[in-house]
């Protein structure tokens, strides 16, 4: 049997050396075809996995972007940002209302403090009036004291005159003693009143000074507090509006992100087209491998076999790009491919 094979090989080599060489080459490349087929299949699978992973990430990115915008929106509205369940509370106490209420409350508080300060100043004025009255009382006491002194002198002179008169002046002397006694008593009382008035005056002056100092400092503090509170609330309001602007910007960026993802999805779908084409190449390689290995039997009619091969290609192809490429690279297939040519319009929609 080996000898027969050797003789056939020698005869083939003698009659058609190029065909014999092609047979040898085909036999040598046959195992390679299987490797190429597997490699292409694995590549297509890897690419599909990668695109699937990218798409999954896109979904995650878009979802997180939407959640971030929604949470920030709820937070700015005054809620906790943790869920839609806080929405009514959020409406009742949104940031703008909060700032406005704080402004009104603090303004009211400052007005009350100012009123307190005004009342203190009013008290100071009343104290000053009281001081004036006390000075008048002191002056009156001085005059009473002078009158008492003059009465005392008068009583002394009367006493002297009563002594000069003698027996007849005894009654007059008693009156002079009584006047002298009243003058002493009056002097004691004015001294007592003067002491009390002096203490009263010192006390009123001290209180007035304290109140004056307190009221002055209080007004300064109120003015400073008002400026400070206004500046803080203004700053808070500014930050709030900046945050709102930032949120609007984030929402816009989120929309842009969704738009970018949409464009990427269109681009990524070319992987599906590529994989389909790789799949068809793999099928063709498998068919070629079977044919070369003699699995399909012995072909004798070249034209018929060529038609069969073109038919298989035509059957396998699922897109215009493949048919166009086959028509260019395999002239024998051009007619068959043109016959079934469609239009390559991506995204084309036809409703029936």
């Amino acid at each position: 049997l080996k000898a027969v094979r050797l003789l056939r090989a020698l005869r083939g080599l003698w009659n058609a050396p190029h065909l014999y060489s092609a047979g040898v080459e085909a036999e040598a490349h046959l195992p390679v075809l299987a490797v190429l087929r597997r490699q292409l299949g694995e590549t297509a699978s890897d690419v599909e996995q990668a695109v699937g992973s990218v798409c999954e990430s896109f979904a995650g990115v878009a979802q997180r972007a939407r959640e971030t915008v929604a949470r920030a929106g709820r937070l700015l509205a005054g809620g906790s940002g943790e869920g839609a369940g806080n929405a009514p509370q959020a409406d009742a106490a949104n940031m703008e209302t909060l700032v406005s209420t704080s402004r009104a409350t603090i303004e009211h508080l400052l007005q009350r403090m100012e009123r307190g300060s005004e009342l203190s100043l009013e008290a100071v004025r009343r104290m000053e009036e009281l001081e004036t009255s006390i000075r008048m009382v002191t002056r009156a006491i001085g005059e009473i004291d002078a009158i008492a002194f003059r009465n005392k002198i008068l009583a002394l002179n009367a006493k002297i005159e009563a002594v000069h008169v003698g027996e007849m002046g005894a009654g007059f002397g008693v009156v002079a003693d009584e006047i002298s006694h009243q003058a002493r008593r009056s002097n004691e009382l004015t001294e007592e009143i003067a002491s009390v008035v002096s203490k009263l005056r010192a006390s009123v002056e001290g209180t007035a000074d304290s109140l004056r100092q307190f009221a002055t400092e209080d007004r300064e503090r109120i003015a400073a507090s008002r400026d400070e509170v206004r500046a803080t609330l203004d700053a808070l309001e500014t930050v709030h509006w900046q945050m709102r602007a930032s949120l609007a910007d984030t929402a816009e960026r989120s929309d842009q992100l969704a738009s970018d993802i949409s464009r990427s999805i269109v681009a990524l779908q070319f992987q599906d087209r590529t994989n389909q084409r790789i799949g068809h190449v793999v099928e063709a390689l498998e068919s070629m491998e079977l044919a070369i290995s003699g699995h399909n039997g012995v072909a004798t009619d070249r034209e018929q076999r060529r038609r069969e091969v073109v038919g298989e290609m035509k059957q396998a192809y699922t897109m215009e790009a493949e048919r166009t490429a086959a028509a260019v690279d395999v002239p024998a297939a051009a007619a068959a491919m043109t016959e079934t040519k469609g239009t390559e319009s991506y995204g084309e929609v036809e409703l029936f």
Binding site: C55, L268, Y346, V349
Partner: protein
């Protein structure tokens, strides 16, 4: 109440892209890798729309649509073919099988949602 879509494609990446697009538009999505699996999904639950590939192993898109049209529950469910194929004769086959429309891949997400909006009852 949200609508449900059945996405049928042997390519996992395409299923994911269509599912992502539909989920963004508020759909709940059910997936299947071929026509046979898709019929099983339809046995288990009602869907509002079907988006299917044409060329798939086990059962292709046209056979699947033809089969779903024989069932009472899915006789009038909109079914769009989403495929790389653009041959007129294939489109005719799809139309004869009962497809509602034909979209050539790659699809534009916004356009897909717009088309779905047009065919949904």
């Amino acid at each position: 109440m949200g609508r449900t879509a059945l996405v049928v494609d042997d390519a996992m990446s395409i299923r994911q892209m269509v599912a992502y697009t539909l989920t963004q538009a508020g759909f709940e999505v059910v997936e299947a890798a071929n026509g046979r699996e898709a019929l099983e999904r339809l046995e288990a639950r009602r869907v509002d729309i079907v988006i299917t590939d044409l060329h798939m192993p086990v059962m292709d898109g046209i056979s699947f649509i033809r089969e779903m049209r024989t069932k009472q529950a899915t006789r009038f469910t909109p079914a769009l073919l989403l495929t790389t194929e653009s041959q007129a004769e294939k489109k005719q086959e799809g139309k004869a099988a009962g497809a509602t429309g034909w979209i050539v891949k790659p699809f534009h997400p916004e356009k897909l949602i717009e088309v779905i909006g047009r065919v949904l009852p």
